[in-house]
Amino acid sequence: MIRKSNFVLRGVAGEFVLVPLKNQLVNLNSILTFNESAAYLWELLENDCTVNELVSFLSNKYHIASSDAKNDVEFFIKQMKKLDLIDM
């Protein structure tokens, strides 16, 4: 899977904010903010990644168990799909 290209993730004032580039209305009724690990996953999705690859990267970066990382990745993907922010 890969993230849609018409967004940019900005880190400002201690928060990560996803800003649409072309159409600021796209599926986002409010400003979308990410926590640090979601921001990391978003950056990884600049290139095509599988779920297992995301789990492995997340687990290594934050020194967490694969099962916890898998839960986080699955939750993140579910949200991104709902907002139509990634292509599978």
Binding site: V8, R10, V12, A13, G14, E15, V17, V19, L21, K22, N23, Q24, L25, I31
Partner: protein, 344 residues
Amino acid sequence: MHLNAAKDSIPLSGSFELTERCNLHCKMCYVCSSNSSNLKKLELCSSTWVDIAKQAIDQGMLFLTLTGGEIFYRPDFFDIYLPITQLGVIISLFSNGTLITEEIALKLAENSPNRIEISLYGASQAVYESITGIPGSYRSCCSGIELLLKYKLPVSLKTTLTKLNRHELDDMRRMAKDWDIPFVAGNLVSLRRDLQESDSDEYRLSPEECVNMEASDIESFEYWEEKIEKYNKVIVKNNLQVFDCYAGKASFSVNYQGEMNLCTLLPQPSISIPTEGFDRAWKGLKEFINKTPSLSPSCSACELAFYCPKCPAWSYTENRVFGSPVQYLCEIAKLRKEIFCKGG
């Protein structure tokens, strides 16, 4: 987010006033004085605006309002707007709506901003045009709003209540309801920011009218009820700072010549971004507010401070002194306390 930005001195929110010129001549306007070609010559070109936006974004700007004057009075508006939409900033547009054509609405729909706020001056042609002074402007405004809605753009309405349009408040609310868009009404009319003589204060509601209007509006009434409930639970110390807003801490404004100001209402300290660069201009703003003396003793000791809509720009335009009491606002504070704080 603004609080964190202020703590770290990040210019999170900016207003770019692309032009001071406007096709309307509203009686209570605090900005426009003429539409002369001299004024046009002083305006920044589109590429300079885009460059300033890039510099501001590098420093942390996330929210940008494009305002005027009237933004669509500039034929090159899209030469500024479209490149900025690609920079990763959340954009709001302020307009009177009267110059919006099908072509403009379509272009906006292809690259939608986050928000478009249209100023509505009345609910009838007679009242609207008695304020704007331009025949046909009411129809043009309604047509502009309808075009934006046709292309599903995120429109909201706002008005400034004056002696000329206060009786149409409910009708304006109804218009917004029929269009199914948000509507807000403000009731404070400030003097001209360039300190030129104007009739603005003639059109102001009296302090009694302002507060009665707040009391009769359910949202405003609930706001004050909630605020007072919180106030009663804690000991609130008066803020002694003149600038107790985000101006110069997390927000800034840039005028049509590219000078950085504290806000659109307060054209100070006016540091040229094309000459100094964004970073130095932003630092200059911070230095300016740090050097501003504290509030006047009468304001800092005032027991009505909690109810007071005090603002450094108002003190300056009314008294030429920052942090000094503005009689009109003092009266509003007094009446607010009488009406909203039943216990006295």
